[in-house]
């Protein structure tokens, strides 16, 4: 099991058939984005049809997990027992994703030191043997 950043009481993700492959890749510690099979435009969260060309053909592209903080907030209210506050929710701009962002957390750093533009990389948190959540931590440079 990986390093833990949040308690088990953190709300679990929910998925339907369209988003399930994203979570299956996450369980293998692969961070993926959906890629249109016709025009190669990328998208997140997963959806059945490409909003650009309306093709229903798609695949999954693995990204490096490198990125930068696009915006963030420090949450000062615990959501579950045992959770340290403040914790940081951030929008991460994902490198090599075709311009996509995702919501996640910035961990492994004092909350007050988080800033827009900060370089980060993915760190997987195994919440259980079947559930891995991608968080982000500052890159060492």
């Amino acid at each position: 099991m990986s390093e833990r950043f949040f308690p088990d009481t953190m709300p679990p993700p929910m998925a339907d058939g369209t988003s399930l492959p994203w979570w299956e890749a996450a369980a293998e510690h692969r961070l993926v984005v959906q890629e249109c099979g016709a025009c190669q435009a990328t998208r997140l969260p997963p959806s059945p049809v490409c909003p650009d060309c309306r093709s229903d053909q798609f695949g999954w592209r693995e990204v490096s997990g490198q990125g930068e903080v696009y915006t963030f907030t420090r949450v000062h209210r615990p959501l579950g027992a045992g959770q340290a506050i403040p914790f940081v929710i951030a929008v991460i701009a994902l490198e090599g994703s075709g311009g996509l962002r995702m919501i996640s957390n910035v961990v492994g750093i004092d909350a007050d030191a988080v800033a827009i533009g900060m370089r980060v990389e993915v760190v997987w948190e195994d919440m259980s043997p079947d559930l891995a959540i991608p968080r982000f931590r500052p890159t060492d440079d």
């Binding site: 009481t9 929910m14 339907d16 369209t18 959501l79 929008v91 559930l131």
Partner: protein, 407 residues
Amino acid sequence: MSPARAHIVGVGESAYARWGKIGEVSEHALACQAIQRAVADAGLSMDDVDGLASFAEDRNEAVFLAAELGLPALRFGNMVWMPGGGGGCAAVSNAAMAVETGQAEVVVVYRSLCQGQFYRFGSGGVSADAPAEPPVPSLQQANSLLMASMGFAMPYGLLMAAAAYALPTRRHMHLYGTTSEQLGLLAVTFREHASRNPRAVMGGRPLTLEDHQASPMIADPHRLFDCCLESDGACAVVVTTEERARDLAKRPVEILGSEQGAPRGYAFGPFTNANIPDALYATGGGEEMAGRLWAKTGLSPADVDVAQLYDHFTGCVLMQLEDYGFCERGEAGGFIESGALAWEGGSLPTNTHGGSLSEAYIHGLNHVVEGVRSLRGESTSPVENAEVCLVTSAACVPSSALLLGRK
């Protein structure tokens, strides 16, 4: 011949109270009370009502209310499909379309909200108290598109609206140098307006900028006083045709124009969608809608005498000021500092009832009620000779808006 324009002819509400304080009356009874008061305010009887409309998944379904209130027939029942408070003005707009097309003649739009009797928004069913046996974390089945979308927000702890709307607000501060004090001034201004409003839950509680700056951080930049109240209460407005509006009890208010919706690719807005276009991210998402509203009415921001802007969070009000063109993009902070939104001396008196920050949080339908009062000369912070009022419902989610005009 074009159909008659719809008018708002009656408004009403229950008493407003803090979250969880109304327990002796059901949420559903409050809905009936607000509807009856709005109908009486119009000088109509329940026998005249043939339509009901609401939004935000109001738990008090129209079919039951119609039966209980003795409507002769229910000819129009409508629930708006915009998330939460985004549907308030849209519900009024849908009621207007119903009466303008002859689908119904008198439609009451209502919203009743007693979170204390059900669950609290933003909790996601998660308690800060330790559960007896924490379940093993696992992927859950999403029972709706919204929940599948929330699947990309909730595992990161993004449940509270205060945190969700902090994301675009933080970005706005980064891009334009907007400050917490500028946000605080909004809260202070609306609280001052509430001081004259006997309906306002926070009417007797003055607020200074120092109080704002000293209030606890919830999800930065949102401090406690940047967040709207959580309230119990209900309100309602009555919509009918121009012809019917002529001989009723109060001065009718004309619906000059309405808009609802979201820009391309917006989905639920920044709450669950990290990929709304960069140009839209640090906005309320309403700029296109505002453009359509000005175009269809032939009015401009300069024509607006008074505004009732949805104020779930101060940052969302700030971004709406730019969306609707009251100032340039990035300049709302300075616009607020100029005192523009103040009842006393402001060029755009805003939230003259105190808004959701200080009157009550009834998902913003109380902003429509105040919009009507401000054009009737009934507001407790009256704007002399006000002829045009802008009312908005939500921002940073799909939203809606009304331009109201004095007859």
